[in-house]
Symmetry: D2
Subunit: 384 residues, 4 copies
């Protein structure tokens, strides 16, 4: 009997855990322990907690650590609180392994907590490259982890380069592609009314003849500029004469600079094309993306799922720096002219689909490995 | 004007900082901010704090985080407390850079705190290899740091392999060798009376005709076995018919298992050869080592300084696994027969001195670099 | 030279500190150390921090502790964080005395921190009676404090009854009355345009011919019912055919239940009479109250300042239970009919002004005492 | 079914809980939840945890908060950690009531945590008077609690004076008297060999013809003087020509000053009369007291149990200030001459037994009340 603590800290991590959990739930020798934490517990970020329960999973522990201020030491203090709780919880529960997802800052907390308790740590989606603080977090987590499930060939190679043992590295593809594949299956058009189902504020443009999606999150180490950055994007998108479904930013530091400017824009312009939405069921979101004319911002979805789905994407700024890209992406800076120009260019040509981020079976591969992988909690650096 | 926060968390880290500080103190464009933390503040670990002040340096901030219990979640909770304080302190002080030393678990706290404040982090002595949790900590700190001062050629290569940029890596040698070199200069015999100067408990054997040193610390992920392990060492050392200067263990988890058994041994055997000492001024310690017949245990000194000094060493167990060794070391397991046999073997031959860990000028090299190195707080993974 | 740490944790506490600080600032043997904390640091609660600085005072330390969740253990965990910081800060700063204001839950943090450092604690506005958790907090703070500045005769008697020494108790009146007195001096009508100066959302009714004010905060131990409670008030106020200036609730637990319902009401009814405001400079607020036709809700202002100003008030629910009242107040339950009826009754008669809460010189009295009171940090229970 | 969380934080509190638990354990509608915390979990303070388990009770949660330093902010930071854990635990467990014992600083943590969760709080042994910080803690806990079980008539009156409702106050006697009564029943002489059973250090004097007991703890707000104070006691006791059983001090701040001087004394004088013991099973301790010639120090046992047992006591310093006394006590300052003189005086006369602290049935009375008392979590101040 193997007891696995799976740490879910945000909507984005739950989306990737979904097909893993679907594949784990029926394994008889696996005891699932879901730790729901951080923004996944908070109303204004869509309370993923409720969705996990609705999907039929049980939450073993809730760990709250989000602070309400915009001080620069907020992420550090949040980690402090999270490590306190994770350390105590893992000590009491003694899981056989702990899984952490990707590269959000808060995953340092369960990773460090498990490391000092000598609990084997499984890192899903390590080895990728990006800019900013995520780059530090992701690779530090790799060096604290024991078992690795990278999504791509390149990220697997990076993990090997960092001195990890090949025997503990398994390329699985990204489970977000599983969701993308499952979601668009047999769909011809958007299966739900976005306004009825998700409400939101702003105008309610008719999206039957096409629309674009904007999702732009703050970049931690550019948090003071988040307001200026979003203003450029707002300018560019205003010029594109299409309905816009705009998503509120995530909870990272700098979020206030973005949301304040979105509110000002909304109340000042009262544009007929802009609709603002807080959160969306991940399935619905992928459908929305799939039937859109393109996506603008700095969401990882534009790079990952959209490569598989073949959706044109304008990626703004440094947040997705260094990630592998399919042929669907154009990168631009925080400049409204550049953004506008790139959007016209990428939407005017045919996009080839790509499986660099997975073929849609990552969840099953990961679940099978979690069941059977040899558990180790120590490490040895492998020189190349 | 460059403001540097130097984080000292234990006696071992202060010893290595000493020649760096001696070289920094007169640089006009450097403002030194010493953060004294962890066991460096605590009486029973020799209160390095007092020594720093006596050496003429000013302490900018004291950060306490040591908990008094032997629960497995202690290191995690200590990190939690430390991160809270370091994050707030660095936010308020805004240093231009933060330096952290080597691989004790607590250095994750200032490293993480500085990383999320986008303060450039300098890691001294990264890239080395060892066993156990230190191995995770050291490399995670490398991936969170921006500038690296490895001691050896091999450790520099390891840092490069992990994807760090060569431009930010400077091989300096280990400053502990500076201290070793300085200390033995012009010395013909032990310059102090160890019993008068350091007191201690147990017997007071005559050490004029030779003696051995024992220093064995707990190994974090073997903390439950620390008692058994020390018993083997006690057995072996009892058979060596020489005066023994034995040092109490450091504060890592498992320390109680060691100290309890040392106390039992002392009170039961009342051996005429054993003297127990808490802590020692690092200069005196190096002298003591230099004039000894050999050192037994798992101290890094046996590997590092003793290679330069040419002192025979028996290294027990996994704590120093994978570190580079000079010709002065024999490695053994926790077995009293092995320990005894190895001691006889290594002390019966001539030892050649080695400079793999430095030539005695590391402090100056590091100080000069701290003054002038180009500061960066972001990272980019360099593929080989 | 006497160093006083004055702890400001919210807008309401700063308003009361204002005339104390105005009187302290010129005393030569007093060193003022303002600790700004909690909701006083947060944007969405009006960031009193900025106002303090604008008023010419220097903030010695910022202590953040507000968490972003709606769990029941939030106040406890916030106190935990606050005590950690206050304890360390007072240890480092060694103030000669610490002052805390009134009865918000967070004042337990500086009070406990100072108590265990044997620093004399001055409690302003103890001894009053109310319902709910404030009642526990206020009297616990009294028993942890050394010197007391109650506002009223009755509250002074209560402090004596609790066993405190008469020599350490000084009835001063409430400094909020100072502000009220100062504000209305020579005013004939509202001196500012509320919409221009404070923005806000909702409609913008003409308030020249009268208006009412609503301010209803969550009640900690009724936090689950905060939504239902506000709905009753909304119903009642909707029936009163007057412009309404409605203030968003404070940050106490239950705040989400109120703000969500205010948003729903606003977006659904789009009433022409309702205008919503976040926060207001305390001077402006008092003017607004002074020229209003009455105040509804559970704000302490309705009980305290309005008794001095002679403004009709409908006090809803338990939040102000047991406070002394002037002739301007009618108390009602959370029932829309009761609220509506009480409003008509109290606004139909002439209100006599009262000085039970002070004569407008409390700030000077308190500042003079802070300068000269004999400092004690120990206690002795005085039996009656 | 009533679920009660009983908070045990030290040996002294467990001793008092013992007969309560013995009486609760068989009540069918009571679910016992023991929270074991603070020094009750730590080896060097006798690990009461093990004893609780040996006595057949189950520990529901362990809450560690003891820090390892001698900074003045240690108690504050320990409370911070404890409140964090207690708040989360009570939130998750939702007990129907929480009980806290007496006046050690750490009981503020569960009391505050429960108060903000609106859980009814039962305070056992409130209303007594003493000096120092305990005096602040005890009465603050009274004002945060809902139901009171004072030990004596005077303490009941004090609680009433503080404004608590008589309906929620029940004089029960002190359960430590239960233990005293039970222990001495049918005993003619010491039933165990103290040296065999408890080991300890120092000499091993023959105690068959009488002996004295010393137990002197640090006083929190005199912690800097703890060393000087213990030296006076050592001098006085040295002059009394009788075997001495001396107990190591508890963990309060200042403990190092005492234990260091005890060690120095022991190693320097090597007196034939002094034996030092860490901790003792409370039953054995009471027997030891009962058959002794007298007790010296500042332990509450000298005041409470010894009044019932009729044992002569010299009470030193301020720690027991203001407690009610039976005819067995003489109070003195920290002066070796006074101590010596008082000891001779009190041991030269016949002592009358007293039941001011209870008749030996407190545990049963408390258990019965816990089962049936009407639960309230709100408060109303009752004016006299």
């Amino acid at each position: 009997m193997r007891k696995i603590s799976l740490v879910i800290t945000a909507r984005s991590s739950y989306t990737k855990y979904k097909t893993i959990l679907d594949n784990l739930i029926n394994k008889k020798n696996i005891k699932i322990d879901i730790v729901c934490s951080g923004s996944a517990l908070i109303d204004k970020f869509g309370k993923v907690e409720d969705e996990i329960i609705k999907d039929g999973f049980k939450i073993g522990k809730k760990i709250n650590f989000i602070l309400d201020n915009d001080e620069d030491d907020r992420p550090g203090k949040e980690l402090s609180m999270a490590i306190f709780n994770f350390s105590e919880y893992f000590k009491e529960q003694k899981p056989d392994m702990v899984t952490v997802m990707a590269d959000r800052y808060e995953i340092l907390a369960p990773t460090i907590s498990a490391a000092f308790l000598n609990i084997p740590i499984v890192h899903i989606q390590g080895g990728e490259l990006s800019g900013n603080i995520d780059e530090k977090v992701r690779h530090a987590v790799t060096k604290l982890s024991n078992i690795h499930f990278p999504a791509t060939t390149k990220s697997m190679q990076n993990i090997i380069q960092m001195g990890e043992n090949k025997k503990n590295i398994f390329k699985t593809g990204c489970p977000s592609i599983d969701i993308a594949k499952r979601t668009i299956k047999n769909k011809k058009k958007l299966s739900f009314d976005i306004y009825k189902k998700y409400g939101g504020v702003g105008s309610f443009p008719n999206i039957e003849n096409g629309y674009i999606i904007v999702m732009q999150h703050p970049v931690t180490d550019e948090n003071k500029r988040s307001g200026k950055q979003i203003i450029e994007t707002l300018k560019a998108v205003s010029k594109i004469n299409k309905p816009v479904i705009w998503f509120w930013p995530n909870v990272d530091i700098g979020t206030d600079g973005i949301s304040t400017n979105l509110r000002i824009f909304r109340e000042k312009t009262k544009s007929k094309n802009f609709h603002f939405i807080k959160n969306m069921n991940p399935y619905d979101f992928l459908e929305l993306v799939y039937f859109s004319n393109g996506i603008i911002g700095n969401s990882s979805c534009a790079i990952r799922e959209c490569s598989f789905l073949g959706i044109p994407a304008v990626n703004i700024g440094t947040r997705q720096n260094n990630r592998e890209r399919g042929p669907n992406v154009i990168d631009v800076g925080h400049d409204h002219k550049e953004i506008y120009k790139a959007f016209n260019k990428i939407t005017s040509k045919k996009i080839n689909k790509s499986i660099i981020y997975g073929d849609g079976n990552a969840g099953k591969r990961i679940a099978d490995k979690l069941e059977k992988v040899i558990l180790v909690s120590t490490k040895k650096f492998i020189s190349l």
